[in-house]
């Protein structure tokens, strides 16, 4: 048999990015670059309430005085922030927001059809409501009326600013402050759309809410903003998926997601991230620099699940502030890197309340010439009596031109806390491959089986349709790297 790296694994990883098509839609842009005028332009364009101009300006000024951080375990050429457009919107939408799906520009509908995300409700997978975001603007939200009957608000954040300004004002920036970090500040200054979810007290949202993000325009950053509020005793499961055209230049994606889980509520947030990863020589691809954070009040639970297969660089740490007593935070992650991709991802669990619990399961898979880093913080503050954390961070290396890095930070200031971290590094062993072969399973299929098994604990946390999609993505992104 040939060495693993050269044959099947090599074939396994060589498939092209399937979502890289480019669409021609008439776009409306803000002037190039970033300054106070551009901020005001965005604010005016979006007809936002006055408090938003203040929010954006404060964020912009904070950002202007910050330096771009460079501590991640990855390298990229400096970004020229004045060379990008901070607002791009399909003209047909930015000038006149469609009131129903029928009004959506057919060209835009075709984009989402090609991505397999139909915007017609009758075609939609049963039980999933979709908000489709193209470049920076929400295109269509489905199932809105059905949800409204239960008091659930699911709409573009721009629409929420129009219809529920008080709700947005109260929570926007409450978990990720406008000056939290360089990219969060940039987002706060220029974000143009994203999803807004509000689940009233005691309501269990019966369907999965889902947002599909798509970067289409050239030289634009995508800065979407998601805000989810779960009132006392409510439940919501939210999914996001992402793709971008294949382009030789890098695209910046700096999103902010804020989750507010009020007492006894449960927010489940799942991501399948498949931004364009760049080509085999590492040209192009999305910089996925995202700030995601949730706050859990008494007895509330926040669960992050992510499958990260795309992006040239992924740099993000979906976190939970366990503020309330008995609150629970979970983080389940699969990160796959191939070719020249770099991922530096993980989570932060900040234990503040008593009897708080957190669980971290991270599975990294590195192939090609990629580098995959788990970085995670578990912090137990003096107030967090009986806090518990368990972390499991495994790495799988395919070939020896890639790297796997594990950087956990454990900080414990309460003597009744128990924190455990375990990590292992392994490869797809020849003995397991032989065992599968002996049972008649060809190597390629065996590799998929083994990788799915390795990620099982994470995939099991995804809603069913997403799990199927995630498995396919894993197979595709690793195609050609094992043999």
């Amino acid at each position: 048999m040939q060495p693993i790296e050269e044959d099947v694994l090599a074939r396994h990883f060589s498939r092209e990015y399937e979502w890289g098509f480019e669409s021609d839609i008439e776009q409306e842009y803000a002037p190039k670059g970033l300054n106070e005028d551009v901020i005001e332009f965005i604010w005016t364009k979006k007809k936002e309430p006055p408090f938003m101009l203040d929010f954006r300006m404060r964020a912009y000024r904070a950002w202007r005085d910050m330096r771009e951080p460079h501590w991640l375990n990855a390298y990229y050429d400096p970004i020229d922030y004045q060379e990008a457009y901070y607002y791009a919107a399909p003209k047909s939408i930015s000038q006149n927001r469609p009131r129903s799906l029928e009004e959506v520009d057919p060209e835009i509908r075709r984009i989402f059809d090609r991505l397999g995300i139909p915007l017609h409700e009758q075609e939609i997978l049963a039980g999933i409501a979709v908000d489709a975001v193209l470049d920076s603007v929400s295109v269509a939200t489905t199932y809105k009326e059905k949800l409204a009957k239960m008091g659930i608000i699911f709409c573009p954040i721009s629409e929420a600013l129009e219809n529920y300004p008080d709700l947005v004002k109260r929570y926007l920036g409450s978990v990720v402050p406008y000056n939290d970090n360089f990219f969060a500040a940039l987002n706060s200054a220029v974000f143009s759309d994203g999803s807004f979810v509000y689940v009233p007290k005691g309501v269990k949202c019966p369907i999965e809410l889902s947002t599909y993000f798509r970067i289409n325009a050239r030289n634009t950053g995508q800065f979407e903003r998601t805000l989810i509020i779960a009132e006392e005793g409510s439940y919501v499961s939210y999914l996001e998926g992402c793709t971008a055209p294949r382009r030789s230049e890098h695209q910046l994606h700096a999103a902010v997601v804020e989750l507010i889980a009020l007492p006894n509520s449960y927010i489940k947030y799942s991501t399948v991230q498949n931004w364009y990863p760049g080509d085999k020589e590492g040209r192009g691809g999305v910089f996925n620099f995202v700030t995601k954070r949730g706050i859990a009040h008494e007895n509330a639970k926040i669960s992050w699940t992510q499958v990260e297969t795309g992006s040239a660089i992924t740099w993000k740490y979906p976190s939970v502030i366990l503020k309330g007593d008995n609150s629970i935070g979970e983080f389940y992650s699969v990160a796959v890197t191939n070719n020249y991709q770099q991922a530096d991802t993980g989570t932060k669990m900040i234990h503040i309340g008593r009897n708080t619990r957190s669980r971290i399961v991270s599975k990294g898979i590195s192939a090609g010439k990629s580098n995959n880093t788990y970085r995670g913080l578990v912090q137990v503050l003096p107030s967090a009596e009986n806090a518990r954390n368990f972390s499991q961070c495994d790495s799988l290396l395919i070939g020896n031109t890639c790297g796997a890095h594990t950087f956990p930070y454990v900080e414990v200031k309460n003597p009744s806390a128990i924190v455990e971290h375990e990590a292992t590094t392994s490869k797809i062993g020849e003995d397991i491959l032989f065992y599968c072969n002996q049972r008649g399973i060809p190597t390629q299929e065996a590799v998929e089986l083994i990788i799915n098994g390795y990620c099982q604990e994470v995939l099991a946390n995804l809603p069913l349709e997403f799990a199927v999609e995630a498995k396919k993505l894993l197979a595709i992104s690793l195609e050609g790297s094992v043999g």
Binding site: E5, H70, W71, P382, S395, L397, I398, G399, N400, T401, C402, G403, A404, H405, T406, F407, P408, Y409, V410, E411, V412, K413, N414, P415, S416, A417, I418, V419, E420, H421, E422, A423, T424, T425, S426, K427
Partner: protein, 403 residues
Amino acid sequence: MEMLKSPALTLEEGAAHLTRLLQEQVALANLPPNLRVQWDKWVQEANLQTLFWEQRHKEDWKYTPMDFLRFPWDVGLARRVSPPFSIPSVLPYAEEVDGVEKDLPALRSLPVPSSPWEALLGGTSSAHHYYIRKEGSLIFSVRGEGGVVPYLLTLSLAPHSVGEVWLFPSTEALMLLRFHLHVGQGACLKLFFPSYANEAQGYLYTILSAHLEREASLETYDLSTSREWRRTEVKVYLKEAGAKVYLHGAAYVDSKTTWDQAIRVEHGAPHTESNQLFKSLVRAGGRSIFQGRIYVHRDAQKTNAYQSHKALLWEKNATAYSRPQLEIFADDVRCTHGVTTGFLQGEMLTYLRTRGIPLEDARKILASAFLAEVIEKVPYEILHTEMYKVISSCLSSPAELSR
């Protein structure tokens, strides 16, 4: 000491002051001429202020209080003192050699400095070089007094030799110990670094590096109940196939004490093995820091590397920081690490109490049992008994009064 009571400088000022002070020490360094030139350059370029703005240094010192930089240090005196107990070793003394004359393996493998500390200490004036041809032991029992005492030690082990090192540095001021080991092919070295509660309450900063050739082995035992601020950096380079390193540490971290271990084990060749086993018991106000890194190079296939740190927080206001890190670039390796922090679990205590053991005794028994996993691995019994004695007597007093 008067000086310790009156910190006068900001951290940045102190860093600049200490940089200058150490740079002035360089002139007499006991190094061969070619190395002297190189080190003089590194020393002159070194700047401790980079600790505050260079990301890499900031990470390395993330959890470590650097108050010692705030004193306007002067140069201190090093005094040889007798070891705290009689050394049970039977090996003859290692031979001290002139670093300028001899072509010593340890001077050849002395790593390029990766921090300003290493640069400043690598060229320091108080340098001593030792050589073990067949078998030998090196006992370093020095007390630093009156100010900064920098020290450079190197030890070279000839192929297939056997050696032991006993380190007993202590200080009431600031001692900076730079120790480099070169373990030749098939040679075997054990290093003991016991530090028992003593009245010296200064700052002890040790940088220990080791370079291991084919099939060489190194074992270290760091046992601490010290009341000093104690930072130990260990950098082991497994240069050639079959090299093995086992690092052990057990610490009783008293109140107002910092126990800080920064470990880096680098696997540079196939079939190398490393194991890090560290445990710390932390009292109120004490701070336990463990930063361990395993780095596996691309061609270091069939490597086995393990790392474990467990911290036991004894009471409120005790703090433990753990940063176990893996950096793996080879696919056919077995690397695992684990860290836990926790406390004495109720059921264990209850079990002992049902056997008639009073609560406080039960806690002490379990505390000793916690550290025993490491202590019992030390090959000399005298080190066990000394350590248990200190733990037992220290735990009898409440944290606030224990110093």
